[in-house]
């Protein structure tokens, strides 16, 4: 159909898109070196560079491999045992763990497995949480839930007719797996491993807290150290370019293979074969172990409530929480509105059958995903340093960059629902000659839960930011994740645990809203 025309409604949408491109554009302006600072290729000949590059790739590959290896059996358990206890709560926990501010987990891991951790005596005298093993543990904790959800949803795509036929033909379990299950998941496994690899390659807070030193430094951390400790701008720029080239290329490749959906609703799976006694025990055991693995680092924070130190000052905690909420709100409100706005020209292009234009607009609205937070921040840092007083403009830049980084997620939340609206109602809307206010009311009522879910997701992601704040933050006004880092790095674990609990509570509430609104969408 080609009868749809844009009109003036396109102008704010295209202005929003231009603003978004400007945010990344300015970052690259800074990265390219127009601000007087240029990358130093000599860095690439330094053995130190190869050391951190190798470690970055190694930890990301191992994290991705382990997350997929352990995630697959858990997804199978959820699929084959639909009657599992607390299944819905477990899926919500998976969602919480994936979007959990990293420093909450770090505090939990340190209390559990650190030098005086509750479980450390069981792991022998050689155990050390800091270094590769700690980084892997944290990365698996953060990404395993994503793999579980995505694979579980993939398994739900198996048509009931395939299972019916397999059962009628009395196929043994192994043949059923080869014929029905494996073809459905094998392609997804590779894509998921790739996504987790990129996430871990770009991970900052985990390596900042559990890594460090020549043996356990990644590119992200090295960029931060070059900027904040050595003030070596050319080295930071070189490393940022390497980071962007690798992460951007991988992300573009993965984008072509198709994204991993992990936030859609459950459906299907009514004809799944019931596992035998041993199969049931295996699935139940795997489920229980995974639940323990995810719950322990969070539950270990709870006892701190019983021993709140008398010296604890609540004011900094509440001030940091207030700052976090304020920054996150300032980012999530425009991110949600902008996501809705920038989808407008994409939807029009879809209706007009202009697929290349739609793909280009789609890429433009989510292109910030290809640039790691640290790379964007470094670009802006170099750009802003000679032009702005960072201690004054810091909060604005934190909001701006987080807006660019969370917007793609809000876009992904709203896009399917809006495309569904158009598929069903675009001819009707055009035929009824609706006034724009009427159209807006109808559309926002239709979006309902999706809009609130997009907002909650943007809020969650912005609340957990560490990478952007690390560059533009100020010791006089700190966010809750950064306060946790400061407490943990000075071994004030009681305070760190209490701050983590507070942040966990807020995030848990947001995940509950997100989960509920998605169900109502």
């Amino acid at each position: 159909m080609h009868g749809y025309r844009g009109g003036t409604g396109q102008i704010p949408a295209l202005a929003g898109l231009t603003g978004l491109v400007l945010i990344t554009g300015v970052a690259f302006y800074g990265l390219i070196g127009f601000s007087g600072q240029v990358a130093d290729p000599a860095t690439l000949r330094d053995p130190y560079f190869y050391g951190i590059l190798w470690f970055s790739l190694k930890q990301a590959a191992l994290s991705a491999g382990l997350a997929v290896l352990f995630g697959y059996p858990v997804a199978r358990a959820l699929y084959y045992l639909p009657g599992l206890w607390f299944r819905r709560a477990f899926l919500a926990l998976c969602l919480l763990c994936f979007v959990l501010p990293t420093l909450v987990l770090i505090t939990g891991l340190v209390l559990l497995l650190g030098h005086s951790g509750r479980l450390s005596p069981l792991l022998g005298p050689d155990w050390n949480l800091y270094g590769l093993q700690g980084i892997l543990l944290a990365h698996v904790f953060l990404n395993l839930p994503f793999v579980v959800r995505a694979l579980y949803l993939q398994l739900l795509q198996i048509p009931d007719t395939a299972w019916r036929l397999a059962l009628l033909l009395k196929l043994p379990a192994l043949t059923r797996w080869q014929l029905v299950e494996w073809p459905m998941v094998r392609g997804r496994l590779l894509v998921l491993a790739g996504f987790v690899f990129v996430l871990c390659f770009n991970s900052f807070a985990v390596v900042l807290a559990l890594g460090g030193g020549p043996q356990a430094t990644t590119l992200e951390l090295a960029i931060y150290q070059a900027l904040k400790y050595d003030f070596n701008l050319p080295e930071a720029l070189t490393l940022a370019w390497v980071q962007f080239t690798i992460a951007g290329t991988l992300f573009a490749l993965l984008g072509r293979l198709g994204g991993g959906s992990w936030l859609v609703l459950e459906q299907g799976g009514s004809q799944v074969p019931v596992p035998g006694r041993w199969g049931g025990l295996w699935h139940g055991g795997v489920y229980l172990l995974c639940a323990l693995f995810l719950l322990l680092p969070l539950l270990v924070l709870l006892p701190v409530l019983a021993h709140i130190p008398a010296s604890l000052r609540l004011l900094p905690l509440l001030q940091a929480l207030w700052n976090s909420l304020l920054l996150a709100l300032a980012c999530a409100v425009p991110a949600t509105l902008l996501a809705w706005l920038v989808l407008w020209p994409q939807r029009l292009a879809q209706l007009q059958g202009r697929h290349r234009r739609r793909q280009l607009l789609e890429w433009l609205s989510t292109h910030a995903l290809t640039a790691p937070a640290m790379v964007l921040s470094v670009g802006w840092y170099v750009f802003a340093l000679p032009r702005l007083r960072l201690e004054h403009w810091g909060p604005v830049l934190v909001v701006l960059l987080n807006l660019a980084l969370t917007l793609p997620f809000a876009v992904q939340q709203l896009r399917p629902r809006l495309l569904q609206f158009d598929a069903q109602y675009a001819p009707l809307c055009a035929g009824l000659k609706l006034a724009w206010q009427e159209r807006l009311t109808l559309e926002w009522r239709w979006l309902g839960g999706s809009l609130r879910a997009a907002f909650a997701l943007a809020l969650l992601l912005a609340m957990g930011d560490v990478a952007v704040f690390a560059l533009f933050g100020d010791k006089d006004w700190t966010t809750l994740p950064w306060l946790i880092y400061r407490y943990a790095s000075t071994y004030r674990m009681q305070e760190a645990a209490l701050a983590s609990l507070l942040l966990l509570g807020v995030c848990g509430l947001l995940v509950w809203v997100l989960d509920r609104e998605r169900a109502h969408a």
Binding site: H2, Y425, P427, G431, K433, G448
Partner: protein, 202 residues
Amino acid sequence: MLEVSQVRIAREDWALDYDFQLESGAILTLQGRSGAGKTTLLMLLAGFETPDRGDIRWQGRSLLPLAVAQRPVSMLFQDHNLFEHVSVWRNLGLGMGRQRTAAWEQALRDGAEALGIETLLARMPATLSGGQRQRVALLRTLLRPEPLVLLDEPFAELDPQTHALAGQWVRDTARAAGKTVLLVTHHAQDVALGDRNQVLGD
């Protein structure tokens, strides 16, 4: 007068040609086998499809440069005529703007009574049967101010008794308001509703 002159629409593996005129205030019934181009003709008139050549004129003015929202057309689709997330009453008033007068509201209530849906106005579309939804959409399509009415299989989900009732209501309402109607149907009995019948694809 509606003039469809030498209109051709072609896609990869098919092409359709139309050439006819229809006097203002007349009712044209359209018949033909599936794929003969009945719905495509209505989509061309409404502006959802663009012809490769030819012209479509209404009262001497070409409709082709006009966007869907600018055309003097009210259309009933085969499906998705109601927004599922707002009430029937709200659906009926959509797009009426300032024309939502007391007279229009009275006409709406009279029409609802004639079509047997007067008790459904406060309900949500999801709670209605297929036939009830079709009558709600029919009511809105006929009572809109546009002079050219396009109905794509408007009685497909109605039982024989309601079908006859709705058919008569469409004819009477269109006549009273002087509307020009193109009505796609698979039922031979609907031919009697129109002033002319055209079988496409012959």
